[in-house]
Symmetry: C2
Subunit: 354 residues, 2 copies
């Protein structure tokens, strides 16, 4: 435990609450920042809990903490990784993560599943899934414990990335399940997007959201081992053919397809090499930095939009108007553009107090 | 010419303007609506010009006209059609359009090219491109004469669709060039999206925007004639393989690939059959109507967003804040979320007059 935290167990509750309040203003920043900068994973974990909290006092200190971590952030490669349940994400991340640690990296894994309401129980479950990696001193595994909105989850994840970077982790995985909307959100906060697939009759694809394939910088056909090896090679060929029908990405990268086995470890180092090739290309052509800057500016825009719309849609009178006009539109009585004009004028009048 | 319009050339300008103003309130609606309902293409064309106009008085009457056309709209199949320049869009639309007319349909073609500033000259050019179709009494061809924003072009196109429907056209093509953002906008106002492609080494794809293939309900390999026939078959196979890697669409439709020749006419009737199959599927499973209703509600939302953001971003003080904080973000001095919070509070305070 960090010496900066004391536990005033013997103090009476009122005084304790006062102390707590006092300690939240400045000392906690020192506690969190100090712990994070020392790479203390327990403190890092607590800091992420703070970021995920909805309590106003936690939000204040979380904002403050992010601000203090910013100068120490940015020095990592942020890797989005997705695939449907059963594709072997955990074993792949464990194998790949341990490989990266052997190469001298420090690895953090942030898992997102906005559809589930995970509890501490399933966090333990996640750690069990990646037993070797989670017990490694140079790794940090953190499933998102929050449900919440997509925008909220993206924000928490991006801020968690910053904290992990400030704690010295230089390879950060953001893991999603590949069936929802979260991949699009994640693609906007990572440098590289990896899609795990299985060889097979295409059935496994029924769960994958359309559009994900076009987001991928790299497709890895997982479980390419044993009797599955030949099928995996065929799948690789099929995906390569498909990807060649797409134009190159704006950053000059032509997405690749590889096969890998998390069990035998075959192909894992090739995955690392492909990511390195991507990094060399995009760092030399300036796209890596440019992409991060654009991502940050997009977050400002999207975040403002979320705030302004939240404000707009939360007003009871606006909701009434919306409900009325939505029905009028569905009944074919008004064009949606005309309805929009009317509601917008109503909004402006309300704002100006008319 | 419709008898309802007189040309008071001999009247003095002031009186003329007064007359005009008077005539714009009610008579013009009758003129436009009457002409449109009679299927008068000259009046329809003038009405679309009205919709494209930015003059406030034109906007008022245009809104009024749309409102009056709404009850007569909806009874068409709205077909988005795209492909890079050189793919043969005009000859394909001409061949397909004439085929549909022979089957008893009335065909309207609305062409969008937001990047160009088309003049009356190029409108004639467009009609020359589709000589037989444009001179056919059951067809109507109208290139968008406006540049403007994407949202604006989408709005004008959707409202033009309504007018064409009120004029009795039951197959409406919305044509785009496949290289910009307009396809996404168009996919939100049509029932079916057709992508024209060429057989070849994949070079022609370099111009196609990523993501378009996943929007397509049907890919047609065009110019499948003469020495190109065999290559077209191979391309069909390649695209079919690629599309099978994508999951089915939410409406239950598995996108198809066909070959066609606008010159020989081969394959054109199969295109029609595929579209009919799509319509039977989506009309029987309810998706067709559901999709149109969702599109209308989405337009309301997006249109409100455009209006509210236009209002937000147009304020000088907000622009100053944005410029300042964008730089702070790029310099790594503040997180985009924190910046968003600050700007949003500033905005709220301004609104409430603080």
């Amino acid at each position: 435990m960090n010496a900066g935290v004391d536990k005033p167990d013997s103090v009476n509750p009122a005084l304790r609450s006062g102390l707590k309040k006092f300690k939240k203003n400045i000392p906690d920043i020192d506690y969190y920042l100090g712990g994070i900068r020392q790479g203390d994973r327990a403190v890092l974990s607590k800091a992420i809990t703070l970021i995920e909290s909805n309590r106003p006092e936690d939000k204040t200190i979380a904002g403050n903490l992010i601000q203090h971590c910013l100068p120490f952030s940015g020095n990592s490669v942020r890797l989005g990784i997705t695939g449907v349940p059963g594709v072997g994400k955990s074993t792949f991340i464990e194998a790949f993560g341990l490989h990266l640690i052997n190469k001298g990296h420090r690895v953090a894994v942030l898992a997102i599943d906005p559809s589930s309401t995970r509890t501490k129980g399933s966090i333990l479950g996640d750690k069990t899934r990646m037993e070797k990696l989670s017990s490694h001193p140079l790794a940090f595994i953190r499933p998102s414990a929050s449900a919440g909105t997509l925008g909220g989850v993206a924000r928490q994840t991006r801020e968690s990335i910053l904290l992990c970077e400030a704690a010295g982790f230089d390879r950060i995985f953001v893991e999603t399940v590949g069936v929802g909307q979260s991949e699009t959100a994640v693609s906007k906060i990572v440098d590289f997007f990896l899609l795990l697939m299985l060889a097979g009759g295409g059935d496994e694809l029924q769960g994958i959201k359309r559009g994900i394939m076009e987001m991928a910088d790299l497709i890895v056909i997982n479980k390419a081992d044993g009797s599955n090896t030949q099928q995996a090679k065929l799948a690789k060929q099929a995906y390569e053919n498909a990807l060649h029908l797409f134009p190159k990405l704006p950053n000059g990268w032509q997405p690749k397809v590889l096969t890998a086995s998390s069990v035998s470890g075959k192909g894992i180092s090739t995955v690392e090499q492909q990511i390195d090739t991507f990094l060399r290309l995009t760092q030399s052509n300036g796209f890596f930095e440019q992409n991060r800057q654009q991502q940050a500016l997009d977050i400002l825009d999207n975040s403002l939009k979320d705030a302004i719309f939240g404000h707009f849609y939360s007003q009871k009178e606006i909701q009434k108007q919306l409900n009325y006009f939505r029905q009028q539109i569905l009944d074919g009585k008004i064009s949606p553009y005309e309805a929009s004009n009317t509601i917008f004028e109503f909004y402006l009048n309300r704002l100006s107090g008319k």
